[in-house]
Amino acid sequence: MTPVATPFFFYFLAALTLLSAILVITQKNAVHSALALILGLLAQAGLYLMLYAPFVAGVQIILYAGGIMVLFLFVIMLVNLERSQKEEQFNRQWLVGSLAATALGGLLVAVFIKGKALFPTSSTQIAEASNTQQVGELLYGQYMFPFEIASLLLLVAIIGAVVMAKKRI
């Protein structure tokens, strides 16, 4: 299956991602931020699909958009204070912060442009049809140990979250 109109979709999705990212950090209302983030995550899933990574795209949708963001929305609803929308949204060092971050971005782009020659010209052909199988084999073969560590991490996170959030245990 060859993707159709690759440049169009790339620019479209990239623009969507960046636009929603800008909305995330500028919205006053946290729920609107979260919605923008969801849109961005979905657009990013589209980018993953264009990069022949359907499994990651699926995981992105299920875990990020369907799981983590619901958690975010829950918490926003619990802690949504009218007050927090009225007060100052950006802290005092916002200008310095943005400048520093932009500088970092400039640095990154400079590195990319400088090191463009180092990039391999030909991309390895990844068989899309067997992507899931290959990911699975790697995950349960070579990366078995990290995988288990990740599950342990999740367990710790569950316990941690419960301990933190519960009123009385």
């Binding site: 619990l78 802690v79 204070l81 009123k167």
Partner: protein
């Protein structure tokens, strides 16, 4: 028998001063316009999350001053008013009132009248229980029983309509007997009805009794002990489900109940499921009574001799009957004039409703709805 358990303190109501997330306690107002409070009952719930810390019932939205009206009408004129209290079981209300005034006048209704009274009252008990079952099941989420019970209740109402012209507020009895002789085919109608209802009751039970979800929703929900029932004056199926074998039809027989052979179903746990079972059994027992009554319906007059203008001797009398919802009592004080000096009604719904707080403490919000359903209250009777 004094109650040994400490009684719950009244609710201290007030808005929590902390915000939503932090508040341990949340005050939620349910009703008076709520689909599950069976009328205009307002329940103020004090919640910890979904757990009920206590409830307070606000009643009186349907108050019409029935008792006060009674003091300003003659004995006969007040008779139709009592039908408007428990409008689901109007016949029982009328029976209680008529018997009380008869007791005051010291007349006895003729045997045939008593039999007709028993038949109609028991039919009314069936109708009331059917309505209870339908709405209770609907509250818990089962839609279908409502339609089945209304289908069968319709047959009872048809008999009422043929007998006295009214379906709901029947005004079926008069002081001293019945005004109407049974219509042609009354016995046949009642017999047919009695024959065809048991399979219908089986049908309801097939839908609910062993339904896992129904059992889970009702078992151990709204438990109340026999001692608490007695302390709060709870009567009727609620009391019997707690294991107390108290039924005025047996204990202090009135009308013609001493002639009939029937049993008093009792429960053991006093939870919502037991109350359900007790009421289902009661429906079957009612059918038994009706069958006996209609088969042994004696000939004779239907009206005792009562004066046209009733002037009962001065004095007071209390008489109670077993209404579908519990003990329905009338306390009438006569000063020898044509109007009662004081009428006081002891409505079973009102008294049973007082147990709500005790029954739902520590349960969940959804259980409050189940318990209100199982108490089988009629707001017309609670507020009078």
């Amino acid at each position: 028998m004094p109650d040994s358990t400490p009684h719950p303190s009244p609710l201290e109501l007030g808005t929590p001063d902390k915000t939503f997330l932090d508040s341990n306690e949340l005050i939620l107002n349910m009703g008076p316009q709520h689909p599950a409070t069976h009328g205009v009952l307002r329940v103020i719930l004090k919640l910890d999350g979904e757990k009920v810390l206590g409830v307070e019932c606000v009643i009186g939205y349907l108050h019409r001053g029935v008792e006060k009206i009674g003091e300003n009408r003659t004995y006969t004129m007040f008779n139709p008013y009592v039908d408007r209290m428990d409008y689901v079981a109007a016949v029982s209300n009328g029976l209680g009132y008529c018997e009380t005034v008869e007791k005051l006048l010291q007349v006895e209704a003729p045997r045939r009248a008593n039999y007709i009274r028993v038949i109609l009252t028991e039919l009314n008990r069936l109708a009331s229980h059917m309505l209870w079952l339908g709405t209770h099941a609907l509250d818990i989420g089962a839609m279908t029983p409502l339609f089945y019970t209304f289908r069968d209740r319709e047959e009872i109402l048809k008999i009422f309509e043929k007998y006295c012209g009214a379906r709901l507020t029947t005004h079926a009895f008069r002081i001293g007997g019945c005004q109407y002789e049974t219509y042609d085919g009354f016995e046949r109608d009642v017999k047919t009805f009695v024959d065809c209802v048991p399979p219908k009751i089986d049908e309801y039970e097939a839908l609910l009794t062993s339904n896992r979800i129904w059992v889970e929703r009702t078992k151990n929900v709204g438990k109340i002990s026999a001692a608490d029932c007695k302390a709060l004056g709870v009567t009727g199926p609620v009391l019997r489900a707690s294991g107390v074998k108290w039924d005025i039809r047996k204990a202090l027989p009135y009308a013609a109940y001493s002639d009939f052979d029937f049993e008093i179903p009792v429960g053991a746990n006093g939870d919502t499921y037991d109350r359900y079972l007790v009421r289902m059994q009661e429906m079957r027992q009612s059918l038994r009574i009706i069958r006996q009554a209609v088969e042994g319906l004696p000939e004779g007059p239907i009206m005792a001799k009562v004066p046209k203008v009733m002037k009962p001797p001065a004095g007071e009398v209390y008489h109670s009957i077993e209404a579908p919802k519990g003990e329905l009592g009338y306390f009438i004080v006569s000063d020898g004039s044509t109007q009662p000096y004081r009428v006081r009604v002891r409505p079973p719904s009102f008294v049973n409703l007082q147990a709500l707080d005790l029954m739902v403490r520590g349960q969940l919000v959804a259980d409050v709805i189940a318990v209100i359903g199982t108490l089988d209250i009629v707001l017309g009777e609670v507020d009078r």
